[in-house]
């Protein structure tokens, strides 16, 4: 799950990581009141869950209440990477001396956390990693051992010049680490981590991604969920315990199991078709789930044909067949459906469907070729 910069800064604030005062508004005229709180030179930043705000015109400076209202009006009218800007954040414009980068994420290969840091902050870090990888330093933290403080200081010394700054950065790293463990973050990033007046290091931007598996432990974080991260169909799917991702093709897919669902999409593409979605109905075999899945898929006007691919293990093919027949009674399905059932109780499932005039395939490649021909 992704959260906005202002939400990430609220979490930073809770953990004592230095951030500026901020005001979030969704109406341009509210910028005037915000200015009275923040002083007369502010930065106005679009709050969207994608990168590249600066280049898209989503960050502006304002030196008067009028300018702040105007900047807010312009940014709130923007659409950045297809996402309309609904909120802007205002904060005092900082006098930046130098920009650094700090990021803490999971190193899947080493099964440890990895701290990345650089003197070249304020730029696109993924670009930096490709073009000037030597400018990013790395330091591993194994949660089984905690932070090796001497080792951390050695790497901080290569980036920060004075003992005072090293001390501030070490303190921030400790807090980022605590936040990561306690809130189940998959990425915590400060870019830029800026040196401002008074020799202070501040998190001028903040990015946090959270592990979906850990959110149940953190009701405060769950409240930060932003509906715009997901399509309406994705939200409804989640409420129905279906794993769903929207795609741009015209063949709706219902599959059990994530790996098989991905492979089914790949094979559709291989045979010249285009999947409209990824959908995993999960390991249970509740007929209602099949009905819900068909409802969600059929709401997409692009869908010209549907492929149901089930390999029964825990999932029973007769339950899937029951769900399909229930759906036929309750929704008007106008597009052709290709059904492939195999595994637990496939014989029973196939009989139930062939009685009603469906053709049920056994072989996956054959089923995919049929559905591609219909689309």
């Amino acid at each position: 799950m992704k959260i906005h910069e202002y939400q990430a800064k609220e979490l930073f604030g809770d953990y004592g990581i230095p951030v500026q005062e901020q005001v979030v508004i969704s109406k341009p005229e509210d910028a005037e009141a915000a200015m009275s709180k923040l002083g007369n030179f502010v930065v106005v930043k679009a709050q969207v869950l994608v990168g590249g705000r600066g280049k898209a015109g989503g960050v502006k400076l304002a030196r008067s209440p009028q300018e702040a209202v105007e900047a807010s009006r312009q940014i709130l009218g923007l659409t950045i990477k297809d996402i309309p800007v609904e909120k802007v954040m205002l904060a005092p414009a900082a006098d930046i001396g130098q920009e650094f980068y700090l990021g803490l994420t999971l190193d899947r290969t080493e099964k440890q956390l990895i701290l990345m840091l650089s003197k070249a902050g304020g730029v696109d870090i993924e670009e930096l990693a490709v073009n000037r990888p030597e400018e990013i330093l790395r330091f591993h933290i194994n949660p089984a051992d905690g932070i090796d403080e001497a080792g951390l200081n050695r790497v901080l010394e290569k980036v920060f010049e004075t003992p005072e700054l090293i001390q501030q950065a070490a303190d921030t790293v400790q807090k980022l680490y605590k936040l990561t463990l306690e809130k189940d973050c998959s990425l915590v990033e400060i870019n830029p981590y800026a040196l401002v007046a008074g020799n202070r290091l501040l998190a001028l931007d903040a990015k946090i991604n959270l592990d979906d598996n850990g959110i149940y432990k953190h009701p405060d974080v769950e409240k930060m969920r932003n509906p715009e991260e997901y399509s309406a169909d994705e939200i409804e799917a989640r409420e129905n315990s279906l794993s769903f991702v929207s795609m741009d093709g015209d063949i709706g897919c219902i599959v059990n199991g994530a790996g098989l669902a991905m492979a089914t999409m790949d094979i559709i593409k291989l045979f010249g078709g285009n999947p409209a979605n990824f959908l995993d109905v999960g390991g249970s075999s509740n007929p209602q789930k099949v009905l819900n899945a068909l409802r969600i898929i059929l709401r997409n006007p692009r869908v010209k044909a549907i492929l149901i691919n089930i390999f029964g293990g825990i999932t029973r093919c007769d339950d899937i067949a029951k769900g399909i027949l229930m759906a036929m009674d309750q929704i008007d399905i106008k597009v052709p459906m290709v059904i492939r059932l195999i595994g637990t109780n496939d014989k029973e499932g196939r009989e139930m469907l062939t009685e009603k005039g469906f053709k049920v395939a056994e072989n996956l490649s054959d089923a995919v070729k049929q559905v591609v021909a219909h689309a």
């Binding site: 089984a144 850990g214 432990k217 994530a258 790996g259 098989l260 991905m262």
Partner: protein
């Protein structure tokens, strides 16, 4: 032979009185697995069919020989269950549970490893050595005893591949689902090493997917260490970037974890990558003597 589990393996089920635990304990018994006990705190002394239930893993270990513990408890209790099995010294711990937070898994991984024990999963279908022992949730009847090893990050996709192998007359020595999460107890390389040493495995299928760099590492390992032929399959070629595709580990981020990089790595290791699961038996037949 087979790897990790065979007809002599003694198994306990953590969470045996739960809905999933009891269902799969019964299915495993029906499939010929020696389930010697179950664990549910507070329910010691009860029985599930003929299987004795213990309060803890240690209590079960004191009562009988335990080679493997398989975990079916809900996600919020999974880390405690893994650590309990590790503290008791169970040599092989298999966690079927889906939804364990990654940061907990990072800790669990090192916890088990430092005790010199082996963890498979979480979020996996388990293991089967057909005709000998099944520890997990896969349908046993699609399998057939034979000499092909299967290693996979997926569940139902593995069934699809196994079904194609069995239909083509190619049996399996052992099939292992290593799990679909970003941090898992055992990776492809751990299993490839075991299959390379197993005299009754003649060839291996590796079923990978987008996300992480385990497939790339596996390809490098195969190039340098494997004498037996390997065939690969990669799912998620059509997945959009940055979206989690069902499995917590199936996400492409920061230019890493792409299907292209994985296919390229396998090609460099002379490992053919099948476009569809039904091509796998043919690719194996050309290479396995």
């Amino acid at each position: 032979m087979s790897i990790l589990i065979d007809e002599k393996t003694n198994v306990i089920v953590q969470g045996i009185t739960g809905r999933d635990g009891s269902f799969h304990a019964r299915t495993m018994v029906a499939d010929g697995t020696k389930i010697v006990g179950g664990v549910t705190p507070g329910k010691g002394g009860q029985k599930v069919d003929d299987i004795p239930v213990y309060n803890g893993v240690k209590e079960a270990m004191d009562a009988t020989r335990v080679d493997v513990s398989v975990i079916f408890v809900p996600a919020k209790f999974a880390s405690a269950a893994i650590k309990e099995a590790a503290d008791a010294g169970v040599p092989l711990i298999i966690c079927i549970t889906e939804g364990v937070p990654v940061m907990e898994m990072v800790e669990n991984y090192h916890y088990v490893k430092r005790k010199g024990l082996r963890l498979v999963g979480p979020n996996c279908p388990g293991l089967i050595s057909p005709g000998k022992c099944k520890i997990g949730i896969m349908p046993a009847r699609i399998h057939k005893q034979g000499n092909i090893g299967v290693i996979s990050r997926s569940g139902t996709l593995t069934y699809e591949v196994v079904y194609n192998l069995t239909t083509a007359g190619m049996g399996q020595s052992t099939c292992i689902g290593i799990g679909g999460d970003p941090v898992i107890g055992s990776n492809f390389i751990d299993m490839l090493e075991l299959f390379e040493k197993d005299p009754d495995t003649a060839g291996v299928v590796v079923i990978g997917e987008i996300g992480g760099e385990d497939e790339e590492a596996a390809a490098e390992h195969i190039k340098n260490n494997m004498t037996k032929p390997v065939v690969a399959f990669i799912s998620g070629r059509t997945a959009p970037k940055g979206k989690r595709m069902g499995h917590a580990g199936a996400i492409i981020s920061g230019g890493k974890g792409t299907p292209e990089a994985k296919i390229k790595a396998f090609a460099a290791a002379n490992v053919p990558v099948a476009d569809t699961p039904d091509q796998i038996p043919g690719l194996l037949a050309e290479r396995v003597k």
